[in-house]
Symmetry: C2
Subunit: 296 residues, 2 copies
């Protein structure tokens, strides 16, 4: 399959849904909504929503009713980027080739844009529209899965560990842990949301969870590689930032060549996890391979 | 009834539940959890959880299964205080008589403590334990009600308007709007959560919502009064901060005497809203009166 075409198509589907669900930039709250929309519509690849939809597709589910959940996942991802970029955190001025939220709107407005997007995500997740084709019980399980993945023992905890590790000598096990929380948890939860929506049985859910964990890992390894090998223009964010901050990364531990092998291994493990699925899982397989190819 | 005794008892019930549900300060994430616990266990009055429990009680419901929801409301309130106190926001060094979260743990850790508490709140709200005695559908309605109340067109939006209004000449209608979003929305949602849990019918839900809106208003008016009349030692936060920041407040618009009358009117309206309820609503009535008495 033509994965680039698939990603472009699905990205457009998510983009349209986001435009439909997101608040319009009008009324007394226009400034706040403008800051949220600025970062939300800054050209993200929508990979987490696309993964949720593709996981549901792998289980032969009609994916349209999953769109509010898909949009919520993107709101959560965007909130995490806005907060991570803040001066008190990673202090990044560029994101996706554009000035970051706090550069444009100021620090207070950026903190609140993140807070607003996170709250709005849970409004979408509990949205009555998200009910079609799924039991309220399953919807609750989905909300709980996502909330856990992004909380203290998940994405936020990972960012906290990441900041604490800056300039410290950490071992590889600790790096894996940070990545797992910071990047892996939400990616895995995105795939799991699709699995819950698609009414996967226990085996299918476990397989999709393994897939999610492995592509989360691949994603992070490739991100580390791109930071070393990419240019600021390619990345849309400052290249070489990790090395500048003296951050522990895969290339710093293993060198570029070995890191590429490890990325490939994670992708292969992700594809292997999908053995029990038929051709409907082809998008998931293609996405896994594509993550590796981003850098090759 | 002895409202102080009731509040002390219920505060202890909430405190115990928070201790039970909140993550322990151990393991690799201990620092992050410590920052969350520092603010969560800093001596809050637990008024929002108590309101949720009291609203359920007014509907003759057994309130124990509502405790995860009650704790979630307190996590949300605490997150909002941590973020509001940040240097980029209100820049407050004192809260409940203690140094604020960012003063103790640094700005990045405080932002993440807030983010962690907000995410954890939704984990609690979708917690399987919160299911006892309530349908999954009702639980979803509760999550949606709370998420809406604290999002862009709610608490976060209110904080955004509040910051934008600093040093600006705003009219009273705008002040009411800010208060409604910033303080009223979560207080109302807390009462509504209890109403949903207690299976209130349409009339009961509307009455409890009116009660919530009126005590939210009373709460904010009294808060404005305390900032004028209290001392830093009484308040546990910096007294006179509103005037220093040239903030629009009820006393600034109407003077202290007229503001007291307005607080009393809001409390009376809250009590009147509860006419259709029997003696089980006495705690709600007593809490309304107590809000006014805080300042008298």
């Amino acid at each position: 399959m033509d994965v680039k075409k698939y990603l472009t198509q699905q990205c457009a589907v998510v983009e349209q849904a986001l435009a439909r669900y997101m608040l319009p930039e009008e009324g007394v709250l226009a400034n706040h909504i403008q800051a949220m929309r600025y970062s939300l519509f800054a050209g993200g690849k929508r990979i987490r929503p696309i993964l949720a939809l593709a996981a549901a597709e792998a289980l032969h589910a009609a994916t349209a009713p999953l769109l509010p959940v898909a949009c919520a996942l993107e709101c959560i991802h965007t909130y995490s980027l806005i907060h991570d970029d803040l001066p008190a955190m990673d202090d990044d001025d560029l994101r996706r080739g554009k000035p970051t939220c706090h550069v444009v709107f100021g620090e207070a407005a950026a903190i609140l844009a993140g807070d607003g997007l996170l709250s709005f995500a849970f409004e979408l997740l509990s949205h009555p529209d998200a009910l079609q084709g799924i039991s309220p019980q399953a919807q609750l399980t989905m909300i709980n899965t996502i909330a856990k993945a992004i909380g203290p023992v998940g994405m936020v905890g990972g960012q906290s560990l990441d900041l604490a590790a800056e300039g410290q000598a950490i071992d590889f096990e600790h790096l894996r842990l940070i990545h797992g929380y910071k990047t892996g948890a939400l990616i895995t939860a995105s795939v799991q949301a699709g699995a819950i929506f698609g009414k996967g049985d226990e085996n299918q859910f476990a397989a999709l969870s393994r897939y999610g964990a492995q592509i989360g890992l691949a994603f992070q390894i490739v991100d580390d590689l791109l930071d070393v090998e990419g240019t600021t223009a390619d990345l849309g964010k400052t290249a070489g930032a990790d090395a500048q901050r003296n951050k522990a990364t895969y290339p710093a531990f293993f060198g570029v060549a070995k890191t590429k092998v490890m990325a490939k291994e994670a992708v292969d493990a992700a594809v292997t996890a999908l053995e029990i699925f038929d051709a409907k899982a082809e998008p998931l397989r293609a996405i896994a391979r594509y993550i590796y190819e981003r850098n090759n």
